[in-house]
Amino acid sequence: MSQPVVLVPLDGSEQALSALPVAKVLSEIESAALHIVYVGEHEPAVDEPGVRLGREVPVLEGYTIDARVGAPAAVILQVAAEIKPRLITMCKHSSPEDGKLLGRTAMKVLQNAPCPVVLVPPERAATPWRLHHILVPHDGTPSTSAALPPAADLAQRGRAELLVAHITNIGAAPAESGSFTTPFYVDQPQHEWPAWTSEFVRRLACVCPLGHLHVRLFLAHGNPAAEVLRLSKRQSTDLIVLAWRGTWEAPRAAVFKGILREAQCPTMVVRA
């Protein structure tokens, strides 16, 4: 079996380098090779990628640099199709201040990637990154559970703690069959809450083996995106893992977009 790969697209900008520390840690956790694809719209000068990588090079042992020319998103997706990476880790190329969800390239890659994509806020710059706490927001629907296996796998390999957040809010219960949300009826809290917690965790364990993983379940109420971000900050989470149905339509995409836009830590997006 060939070694797994973490793909890191760079474009020569300082912002793009923010993905490197994250990709490095993830590749170590996954025992994966780091494949850097440097995409420019023209032929790079000799050693340009290495120059651009600058001080990062010494810490990135075993990486591959793949310099290509062309439309960035198309090239990244082409490389992904060729090497079938486990993850793509790249800079969001957007920030809460500029109001954009993602940069143009990141958006196209996210929409068409064949694997989970880790989007790194440019504000992180190239500061070191570690993985201690992974947060998975879960609305109780089976489709959201798509985020769990990769999150649990990462947590297990990286010996990180898995935090699962269920946010209740005003609105109808999800229509998806098999959903499990906060109990509408709490006849007796001394019985209902332990039963609910146990059921929630059992459903998580059914989607992915939790093994000896340390899982903490959080229940909060309010605006789901705001609550997830608040919890992420309070718990100093290092990675938020989101399931995405591939649509930008309201209402669920609003939560997804809110978290993606505002998250101060990297966000891994898994297609539901």
Partner: protein
């Protein structure tokens, strides 16, 4: 035998959605009041939680409250075709459906499976807990190889010990007898039986059948549970047709007295039959030392603990359609009087203060705290403060007496409960400077507000309890003077006690305002913050989660009917205008945080003539377990709510009134219902109410 086809009698689940498994297991529970088994898949799945419970058998770990015990799972089956396991999701599931056949009390499963080699196997399973012989659990599997001949290996597995002794010292014995029959109904000659595994050479197109009978006895019932179980299983397997036939006859008889046919609303019809089915599967008229837990015998949630749900929400169904089961449930309260007396004495009171949560012996088993998923440690006060439970028990006793005129019960047990609960209220209520009696520091049915003074429901029902106890002493004195003297001696009943009860009842603070006709739910309630619930609708979480416990306690939002519950129970004591103004005031302030809430709102709204509102609440109540959108039923069905649903149909839409000398009714049918009918027992006679036509007498008690 075949499943019932009429959709009004069946709950069907087509296909397979793994994440629904737990709730389906609850819904598809089979039971007979002695034992209950969740409707788990025979071969199991990643999310299966098979469980079999025996009523009244609890396990108590040191330092924790008792929990209904799990006995060995008898429903597991492992089958292989040519060495390949037959499992859902492995190969192609060409058809798969599960059918809860409520009419016959049977859980069916129909499955056509194609394996990787193209072999198509048709399988049908039947599972039941005999209602005719409550110690028997039955499983039949038919297997037809549609397009191949080959070898089948099938093993009925008893996972867990055949003999088990609970921590509480109860021995549980299970014995299995099985046989395999060929298509002609003969025991096959090609069987090898090794450790319970049957190996059969299948012939294409022929149907084979595995029969299994499990006999279940405990040391609660017999001194030799093992011997009894062994002999029982061995005898029963020789007459499978008889065992199944008698079970179906027992259900037929039960439905004859308990069905509530509805014309015009198929969903309501199914929901009502679902309610009756689960109520029947939870009750055992032959064992008066057990009662029905808040989730019946369908799940481990609520630990099998018994609440007021039984006395107030379920009991009316049993009183009117299954009085022998009602009597057994009330006798559980009688047998647990000693614990109720001890609890009252511990708190410095006289009489009987029943446990808010009880298990095998009536001791208080409410957990003292819980850690909510948001990390908050919640102190639980219900065990000390939800004192209305004593009046609830008394209420059930009196309603049973009114309906059955069961003199033996009243004299031997019921009167004692009524007297001891009245004594509790007389000592609990404190006479204060304003000349009134007050009951301070309680929780009413609205559990959002704790440690309140003079809760209207508590005081209202305490007042009723005191008056009825005085009435029953008068009745005993007049009709059974000898027994009355004996009881008075035994209870050290002083001659002037009934007069004192009446004095306390007369001067008990009720919170009733003559000007407005409103009961104040508790002292200070009207000063609390007004919060409009409309902006919180729809929601998929209870209001105390959305607002937080502190905010909800400062608000007028209530968890479930409290004053409205009082209006429902003491309907005849309230002038029509008082019923109306209180419902109009409290209904919009109810957040329905309890599953017991919607059905009672449906009932009262219907009786007040607001049938549209009543219908909306009825549907909400009907969907609590049956709707596939929240996983509500995963850890067990809400059997108290099901009792409430039955009451909403009968007393609400049917308008049945039993306050006079003869049963009466008012038609409050919702627009979609053309008719509803119910048969019931009342004072030695059988009646049939057909709404809108009327009530007719149809016979005597058997």
């Amino acid at each position: 035998m075949a499943p019932t086809v009429d959709p009004g009698w069946i709950i069907v689940e087509e296909g397979f959605t793994l994440t629904r498994e737990h709730e389906l297991e609850s819904l598809f529970t089979i039971g007979n009041g002695y034992a209950g088994s969740r409707g788990s898949l025979e071969e199991g799945s990643e999310l299966s939680a098979p469980a079999t419970f025996v009523a009244g058998v609890y396990a108590s770990e040191p330092g924790s409250v008792p929990c209904i015990a799990l006995v060995a799972d008898w429903t597991r089956l492992s089958a292989t075709i040519e060495g390949n396991p037959l499992r859902l999701g492995q190969g192609d599931d060409l058809e798969h459906r599960r059918i809860l056949d409520m009419r016959q009390g049977i859980l069916w499963r129909e499955w056509r499976h194609q394996d990787g080699a193209g072999r198509i196997t048709r399988m049908r399973t039947l599972r039941l807990a005999s209602l005719a012989d409550r110690h028997l659990l039955v499983q039949c599997v038919t297997i037809t190889p549609e397009n191949y001949s080959g070898s089948l290996s099938i093993n009925g597995i008893l996972t867990g010990p055949v003999a088990q002794v609970t921590i509480n010292g109860i021995t549980i014995a299970m014995e299995v007898a099985s046989r395999v029959m060929d298509h002609a109904g003969h025991r096959t000659r090609a069987i090898e039986l090794i450790d319970g595994r049957h190996n059969v050479e299948l012939t294409m197109g022929k149907t084979y059948r595995l029969d299994r009978i499990v006999a279940l006895h405990t040391s609660r019932d017999t001194t030799e549970p093992h011997d009894k179980a062994r002999g029982h299983a061995e005898r029963a397997i020789e007459d499978m047709a008889g065992v199944i036939g008698e079970h179906c006859d027992a259900w037929r008889a039960r439905w004859k007295t308990s069905d509530v046919p509805v014309d015009g609303d198929p969903a309501a019809q199914r929901a009502l039959r679902f309610a009756v089915y689960h109520l029947v599967t939870a009750a055992n008229p032959l064992d008066d030392r057990v009662s029905i837990g808040a989730r019946g015998l369908t799940g481990t949630a609520y630990k099998g603990h018994i609440f007021w749900d039984t006395d107030i929400f379920m009991l009316p169904f049993f009183i009117l359609t299954y009085p022998e089961a009602a009597r057994a449930l009330l006798m559980y309260r009688y047998h647990t009087l000693a614990a109720a007396r001890a609890k009252a004495a511990r708190l410095g009171h006289r009489g009987a203060f029943y446990a808010w949560e009880s298990a095998e012996n009536g001791e208080e088993v409410t957990p003292p705290f819980v850690i909510a998923p948001d990390g908050e440690v919640i102190r639980i006060f219900t065990g000390e403060q939800e004192q209305h439970i004593s009046a609830d028990v008394a209420f059930g006793v009196w309603k049973y007496w009114e309906a059955t005129a069961d003199e033996h019960f009243l004299v031997e047990a019921g009167a004692e409960i009524l007297i001891e609960t009245a004594r509790f209220w007389a000592s609990r209520a404190a006479h204060e400077e304003d000349g009134r009696y007050h009951i301070r520091g309680v929780i009413g049915p609205d559990e959002y507000h704790e440690t309140v003074d003079d809760n209207a429901y508590t005081n209202g029902l305490a007042q009723w309890n005191l008056e009825v106890a005085a009435q029953v002493v008068r009745l005993l004195t007049e009709r059974w003077p000898t027994e009355c003297r004996a009881l008075s001696r035994r209870l050290a009943l002083e001659p002037d006690e009934p007069r004192r009860w009446l004095r306390v009842a007369r001067d008990l603070y009720t919170g009733f305002d003559e000007q407005t006709g409103l009961f104040e739910q508790f002292q200070g309630y009207f000063e609390l913050e007004e919060i409009d619930l409309a902006p919180f609708t729809p929601r998929n979480a209870p209001m105390d989660v959305l607002l937080g416990r502190e905010r909800i306690q400062r608000s007028k939002i209530i968890k479930q009917p409290d004053v409205v519950m009082l209006v429902h129970l003491l309907w005849e004591r309230m002038p029509p205008e008082v019923r109306r103004v209180n419902f109009s005031y409290y209904e919009p302030r109810c957040g329905h945080g309890s599953s017991l809430s919607p059905a009672i709102h449906a009932l009262v709204a219907a009786r007040l003539g607001d049938t549209a509102l009543a219908e909306r609440y009825f549907r909400q109540a009907a969907e609590i377990d049956l709707a596939d959108n929240m996983g509500n039923a995963a850890a067990g069905i809400h059997i108290g709510s099901l009792g409430g649903l039955w009451q909403a149909a009968v007393f609400g839409f049917g308008g049945l009134s039993l306050s006079g000398e003869k049963p009466e009714h008012n038609s409050n049918l919702p627009r979609s219902w053309h008719s509803v009918s119910v048969r019931f027992y009342w004072r030695g006679r059988r009646y049939e109410l057909v709404v809108p036509e009327g009530i007719k007498e149809i016979g005597h008690n058997p």
